[in-house]
Amino acid sequence: MKIKDTLENYCFVLPAITIFTVFYIIPFFWVFQLGLFDWDGILPTKIFVGLANFKEIIFQDKSWWQSMGNAGWVTLIALTFQNALAFLLAMACDREMKMKNFYRVIFFIPPVLSEIVVGMVWGFIINDVSGANIINRMLIGIGLPQLAHSWLNDPKTALTTVAIVHCWKGFGWGFLIFLAGLQTIPRELYEAARVDGANAWQQFKGITMPLMVPVIVLVAILTVLGTMQAFALIIGLVGGELGGHTSVPVLRILASMRGSSRFGYACAQGITFGVVLVMISFIQYRFSQKGKHN
């Protein structure tokens, strides 16, 4: 009876565990195994090369580190500009406001769209080949024709343009989380502070900021993880899997796999990138813990 009962219980989790094992755990270990091999993905023979792939990535692959730098720059802009905008908007909406729900619904439209759609629509707005796009027309219209140019083809502006579009797509998500965080702060705290004669800035510094630190750290970690791994937006914007001046690590992994058929190398790149991501979020987490104790 007991055995039958246990078997019955296992049947409930069996489908989930089977799918998870086949499509998550096995690929997870394969990535680590394949990272040590040189393999084109087709031939039955794989050549064991040890850590050669990793050596090549770390010491020779300039385009890899270039792509890391690109992702880092986009992430930096998302961390500062996007999150500051999201926080400001959340602060503005946190007051008793009639249209709060309206804004909340509108601001979350960009995050629900696909990166491909957003990339292509913005590509049309800022970068169409004939140069007759609406942003350039506006610049000419307001008397700044010298600024009108091919934003995504110019290596100087391409990456920042990508970052701005990324912020457009992402700020609504940070806004929602910040707003939810702000609304958990008891109103009585502000009332008490006001009675004590604290002005708006003192209330912000003394109540809002300290209570929002955990939320800010959370949003920062998720922003870094999400932005470092973003790539479909770039495919949509520049119209190709390579990404040109704006290539990012995931696009390099895709290029190693599909472009040069180096499956082992692609896996090694994936591991390197994964380690970097885990390290960054660990450092951010430690920082937040330190902040708590002080």
Binding site: E8, N9, Y10, F12, V13, P15, I17, I19, F20, V22, F23, I25, P27, F28, V31, L34, L88, L89, A92, C93, I106, F107, F108, I109, P110, V112, L113, S114, I116, V117, V118, M120, V121, F124, D128, V129, S130, I134, R137, W168, I177, V215, L218, V219, L222, L225, Q229, F231, I235, G236, G239, G240, V250, L254, M257, F263, A266, G270, G274, L277
Partner: protein, 282 residues
């Protein structure tokens, strides 16, 4: 008198400024979408001369060409099919598992549960390379089934977590009553637990539907045959082939974006709840 007038004016002008700021951002959110829809009704000749948001003449031809000649009707149906199959799969598989994790005892329960949770935290950016090889070996690459199973796995961990948290808080009395009435475990899951978890199921359904509809990378590496591609990949192929036919591309983008916007507007309550809950948990 004077000071109260001063404070009132100050308060009103601050409110006006705040609303102006919020409205400006709202317009920035909406403009690209309106521009996309407007452009989809223009023609190749008028798209650069007619820069109004409401076109002087509506050309529905673009949609006709997109659906008939460029096969967007088929891609649309593919996307619908994948989204519905994956969401149904996730709801059944994850609610069964979450119910067991919440209610039953069996050896290894905690290990399995923490495994799912760890999968939520650890990023493996190169996993699509291994999935490509795996599906090749299983002869599932370039098949809808392969894609559906991969996507069920993608949504599994978070869904199990959300449902288990919900089941943990759910009172057990109804289930006990059903058991005394002779209901089997499976029967209790289906007749009692699932109907009671409506609100959290809605969150699971909406989030996974968004994720599948918008998914790109796995669809890109899994499908070679154009006829089984979902919209996101088809759009990119289309952009590569008809690089300058913007009205047609905008019609295709509108076809891909509008269903998800409608789903969002209808279910926005659950989406906002899901985002804020997910953040609190994380």
């Amino acid at each position: 008198m004077n000071t109260s007038f001063y404070y009132k004016t100050k308060k009103i002008s601050i409110n006006v400024l705040i609303h102006a700021f919020l409205l400006a951002v709202a317009v920035t959110c909406l403009f690209p979408l309106l521009w996309m829809i407007a452009s989809s009704f223009k023609t190749q000749e008028t798209i650069f001369s007619d820069i109004s948001l409401i076109p002087k003449q509506f050309h529905f031809m673009n949609y006709w060409i997109a659906i008939k000649e460029c096969d967007f009707g088929r891609y649309f149906l593919n996307s619908i099919f994948y989204t519905v199959s994956v969401v149904c799969g996730i709801v059944i598989v994850s609610s069964l598992a979450a119910y067991a994790f919440s209610r039953f005892k069996f050896p290894g329960k905690n290990i399995f549960f923490y495994m799912f949770m760890a999968a939520m935290m650890i990023p493996i950016p190169g996993s699509f390379v291994a999935l490509y090889i795996l599906l090749n070996k299983l002869h599932l690459r370039n098949t809808p089934l392969g894609y559906i199973l991969c996507m069920i796995n993608v949504g599994l961990s978070t869904s199990i977590f959300l449902l288990k948290t919900f089941f943990d808080k759910m009172p057990k009395e109804l289930e006990d009553a059903a058991r005394i009435d002779g209901c089997s475990k499976l029967g209790i899951w289906w007749h009692v637990a699932l109907p009671l978890s409506g609100p959290v199921l809605a969150v699971v359904v909406v989030f996974n539907a968004l994720a599948v509809w918008n998914e790109y990378i796995l669809a890109l590496i899994i499908f070679d045959t154009k006829t089984s591609m979902p919209l996101q990949v088809a759009l990119q192929t289309f952009q590569g082939e008809f690089v300058t036919n913007y009205p047609l591309l905008m019609a295709g983008l509108t076809i891909a974006a509008v269903p998800i916007i409608i789903l969002y507007l209808v279910m926005q309550k659950y989406i906002i709840k899901g985002v804020t809950q997910g953040a609190v948990v994380g």
